[in-house]
Amino acid sequence: MIGRCRNCTGQLTFDPGKQMLICDNCGGTFAPGDYGVTEKELLWDTKVESLSDIYGLDAPEYIDRYVYICKSCGGEVIINGTEVSTRCLYCGNTAVVFSRITKQKRPGYILPFKLSADEALGAVRERFGKGLFIPKSIRNFKQDEVRGIYIPYWIVNCRHKGSVVVSGSVRSGRRTRTEYFGRAGVMNITGLPLDGSRMLSDESSSRLEPYNLDDLTSFSEEYLLGFYSNISDVTYGNLKSAASKRADEYFDELVLRNVHEASSIRIHSEQHRTDIDYKHLKYAMLPAWFITYTHNGTHNTVVVNGQTGKVVCGVPWDKRLFFLLMTAAGLLLTGLFFLIFRNLLPLLIDFNFEKSTAAGIEILAVIAAGTIALFSCGIARIRKVMSSIDLTQDVSIFNFAGRRQG
């Protein structure tokens, strides 16, 4: 049986370090893909039934829940609408729902896990250890769950046509005027990975990039052993809007870099069109570790790229330490600036209005504008961190990782 050792029928698990299937019982090793297609086909007809149909449960939490019978122990495995592999609650073995990866829905490729759970945890702890404003309780966090999940991705090639007008400030003498710059052209995008799961936000999944897609290998169910996985549930429309969003951003960034003749440049108007090459779409499963921990009663989900070990999360910050250090530095800098300006101001401004003060007033106006810009930039950066923390504490990512059996 697939998932079982041929020597002793022990449970097989894919070992990211060895890139082999290891028997938990006898230690035997097998190459993934050793099992014949016919063996898998026997399991394609195993049906998955809706939990509400079987038990007549109409509560909202049972709507997207299904029952699959574990091939190892016969226990009922509860899965959601897109899960392909999970762990049986009773025997702990990996249950692969083969009927969900028949020929029609089968991913073409898979990027096997390179990082083990311990390595992923180690990467998170190491990164947390370097964070100046990460509270000690989080640095020594105790994980609630560590789950290796294959996320369904569509690898997309597309052709993007764009027409963008950039406005910017150009100085002529002492005056500044606004000028407009038009750019139109074509951009080809190759190998763009787009997450195919509606349960996981695009913002979370795009942060996991880059994946080295040269390591993609033909899909085989054996790679799922020991891991959770989902199939894609997005439509072509979802895919197109996700590809368009990324392509628009890339195009705008490249155009802004192409305008050298002005300062303070920004997009004035834009038109875009992205055409996906649907004939060469690749459907692949890419690996990620989801590590959850609880801090002050709130669930936090850290995601780690299962191939490169890139850690993605926003971490709650030590506000007391932050404001203490910022105030101390602020007072120190205020003292320094006071020494400078107490001597400099009488040279810039004549409060008796006997001399012309136009240049001095202009300098003061620049300082005032600079101060406002400093505060705006600082506040924007804090807000960025807070939005990352919100993403890490988001219920949808917690549910994606947490609402699984085993």
């Binding site: 764009g162 000028e179 710059f181 709650p316 400093l374 600082g378 804090i382």
Partner: protein, 77 residues
């Protein structure tokens, strides 16, 4: 004069401090915030039209007709 110097110094001092510490906060607590870089997926834009010093009117009508047509999505999901 001293009061004006103090007001300016307070603004600049705390402004610079906020900028420095918010940058440190991003480094410390916003981990892996960068999405995939465009250089991994594209070699850049082949510009077909490149115009500088457009008037406001020209800017508003720039590129009209350059993007056209609707793409037909494949059927099914």
């Amino acid at each position: 004069m001293d009061i004006l110097a103090l007001i300016i110094s307070l603004g600049l001092g705390f402004g610079v401090s906020l900028l420095i510490f918010s940058s440190l906060l991003i480094r410390s607590n916003d981990i892996g915030n960068a999405a995939g870089s465009k250089s991994q997926y594209t070699f850049g834009i082949d510009y077909e039209i490149r115009r500088n010093n457009l008037s406001r009117g020209e800017a508003d009508s720039f590129g009209s007709g350059y993007i056209s047509g609707e793409e037909n999505l494949p059927t099914g999901v």
